[in-house]
């Protein structure tokens, strides 16, 4: 993984000391809140309902055991013993004291971590496929490019005061595991007919109150032009993006209002000026960054095949976990392990300090010291020999991390919601817990198959409800919580925005409503191989509306 050079160390340490001074001046009253607020946001510090919240960046979701142990240490020393992994592959702490935050950031800096650009109208943490560097279907590892973008965008003077926040995602495979089409810029790493590496470029996707699927504005951008083309997009956005209305300030609105063709024309014109400038990436520089992400040397471990077959036969729970949570690796003797942070009835994305330590131990012993955070709020060990799956599983069982539900109905994404968030209108976590409990039996989950439920506690859509196969949006109506159901969303290579199915449901009725939707699907699918999303795309919303509301199909939401 990427290692800081001297410049990086000096820069991050300098920012910590700068923030320490700002906090001291704020606490002494020398600095007023209006002046301080943008400064704390630049350091990932929010004020939520009960306390400050610190969001720590995990660039493209990649970290090592030492860093994970530091995240556990932060949870123990500065928080209440746990953290919440987010849909931007970051981690949030819910209870830090402002006065202690500079110390927390100084501790993070010792393991090359920080919280810069995890908030504010800047380019946020660049996300990537959580299976990067390991997936069998990958054209190339997207992380070197994500790292190049991170370095380029960090405190970039031209792009530090954008009309609104800006999110970039990179995927290296045809199967999109980074939801690139709901990002401001989505980059799909591919090879052209000559075998050269480049990107299909998507612009203007996003969720929030105006969900839009990104438009592809370039089929193939040579890798050398990554920064010049991205700069061209940013310049067009910076010039024309609206600053008069926060709700219309994202680039998706610009793309929508200007039209993708005209935006592409403007970007190409800007690109023509920038191309062949100092922004062109020399091959040697790309290669130098790529060496940081070289895969570990994976020795043949063919004995794992026989071991695995025996272990699976002896332990049905282990067999279920392997089937659900272990994906094929590009090396046939290895697998990619998803560590579910979705225990049945638990809080999606939360991990205690002890659990973080356990994951760090397992990563060090069995997974070449690599850990990933997925945007689906799980952790990943990307390189585990099949021969080591059994001890890894035992370690995860001991830590309460062996739930075999990756991609199933209880693998729910949920934002913090009204239990923590100052912006939320309704709670997300208790709804996720109730659904998880209702559908928790392994047999029932297996029968239902792949089904992604995503829950947001407000229209900002941090819980990605627009791209849930089943999405839930919590709203406040007459002082009470109400949950709108959307169906048919998807955040992969066939991205779609879910449709609101009808009027909302009260908290105590929403789990029943989900069950009606699920039972309707089970009743109409062609066979067990037809997934929920495939069935929905075949039959449309009507059978679900009828099941939920009877023949009076769907009063207004």
């Amino acid at each position: 993984m990427y290692r800081y050079d001297e410049f990086d160390h000096a820069f991050v340490s300098g920012r910590v000391e700068q923030f320490r001074d700002q906090v001291a001046r704020r606490l002494s009253g020398e600095l007023a809140e209006d002046a301080f607020k943008p400064l704390r946001l630049m350091n990932g510090v929010y004020l939520q309902l009960h306390a400050y919240m610190l969001r720590v960046a995990v660039p493209y979701g990649t970290l090592n055991a030492r860093q994970m142990r530091m995240l556990a240490h932060i949870a123990r020393k500065y928080d209440r013993g746990y953290g919440h992994f987010t849909t931007r592959q970051n981690i949030q702490y819910n209870w830090p004291k402002l006065s202690e935050l500079p110390d927390a950031l100084a501790d993070l800096a010792t393991v090359e971590m920080h919280s810069l650009q995890t908030s504010g109208n800047c380019i946020r943490n660049v996300t990537a496929d959580h299976f990067a560097g390991a997936a069998a279907d990958e054209v190339a590892d997207p992380r070197p490019y994500a790292e190049i973008l991170r370095q380029w965008s960090s405190v970039h003077p031209e792009f530090s005061f954008l009309p609104r926040k800006f999110k970039i995602a990179v995927t290296g495979a045809e199967r999109d595991r980074a939801a690139i089409q709901v990002h401001d810029i989505g980059l799909h790493l591919k090879k052209n007919e000559r075998g050269e590496i480049g990107f299909a470029v998507y612009v203007g996707g996003g969720q929030g109150r105006t969900p839009l699927v990104a438009k592809k504005i370039r089929d193939f951008l040579p890798e050398a032009d990554l920064l010049s083309y991205t700069t061209a997009i940013m310049r067009v956005y910076n010039l024309y993006g609206r600053r008069d209305n926060k709700f219309k300030a994202r680039i998706k609105i610009l793309v929508h209002e200007m039209g993708a063709e005209e935006l592409a024309r403007q970007v190409e014109a800007e690109f023509a000026d920038l191309r062949h400038s100092e922004l062109t990436l020399p091959e040697a520089d790309i290669a130098a960054i790529a060496t940081y992400f070289a895969p570990p040397r994976l020795a043949p471990r063919a004995e794992g095949w026989a071991n695995l077959a025996q272990w699976k036969k002896a332990d049905p729970d282990f067999a279920r976990w392997v089937r659900q949570n272990v994906q094929p690796h590009k090396h046939p003797d290895y697998g990619m392990v998803t560590i579910s942070l979705k225990p049945i009835g638990g809080i999606p994305g939360d991990a205690s300090d002890a659990q973080m330590e356990a994951v760090a131990d397992l990563a060090e012993e069995y997974a070449f010291d690599e850990i990933r955070v997925s945007h689906e709020q799980n952790l990943i060990l990307p390189h585990v020999a099949l021969a080591d799956l059994e001890p890894v599983y035992r370690g995860l069982v001991a830590a309460g991390l062996a739930t075999a539900n990756s991609g199933l109905i209880t693998d729910i994404i949920a934002c913090p919601g009204l239990d923590y968030c100052a912006l939320a209108n309704a709670r997300s976590i208790p709804v996720a817990q109730a659904i998880s409990t209702r559908f928790g039996s392994p047999e029932r989950q297996a029968e239902i198959g792949e089904l992604k439920i995503k829950i947001s506690g407000c229209i900002n859509a941090c819980g990605h409800h627009h791209v849930g196969h089943i999405g839930l949006l919590g709203v406040e109506k007459k002082g009470e919580e109400l949950y709108q159901i959307t169906l048919g969303g998807s955040g992969d290579e066939n991205t779609s925005i879910g449709e609101i199915i009808g009027r909302g449901f009260e908290p105590e009725k929403v789990t029943d409503a989900i069950e009606v939707v699920v039972d309707t699907y089970l009743g109409l699918r062609l066979d067990p191989s037809e997934t929920f999303i495939a069935a929905y795309r075949r039959v449309g919303p009507q059978p679900f509306k009828t099941a939920l509301y009877g023949d009076k199909t769907a009063a207004a939401a």
Partner: protein
């Protein structure tokens, strides 16, 4: 007019606090001073502005409450959760902000 109390978050640690009758910022809603008429509300608002200007608290708001059997209850769920802590158990042995503050 609904009864009202003054709430904010303490600057140094962000903890939710309510203004009590002695003029202190208290971590328990049940100690809050309740304004029941216009002049009292105006006094709360003025106190809040001053406390913000003095850098004691941030995010200062006057909120609606009702008193039921001597217990103060915010009308909005958001404020009830601020007062009582998350509605979920998230760490062993922890039972909400109010319990910690008590």
């Amino acid at each position: 007019m609904a009864d009202k109390v003054l709430t904010a978050n303490r600057l140094s640690d962000g903890t939710s606090v309510w203004l009590d009758a002695a003029g202190n910022w208290n971590e328990r809603l049940q100690t809050a001073f309740v304004a029941r008429h216009k002049e009292a509300v105006e006094a709360l608002e003025a106190t809040g502005r001053q406390a913000f200007a003095d850098n004691h608290v941030v995010d200062v708001n006057v909120i609606d409450v009702e008193e039921v059997d001597g217990i103060l209850r915010p009308l909005r769920m958001r404020e009830r959760i601020r007062a009582e802590g998350p509605t979920i158990a998230y760490a062993a042995g922890y039972s909400g902000l109010a319990a910690t503050a008590a």
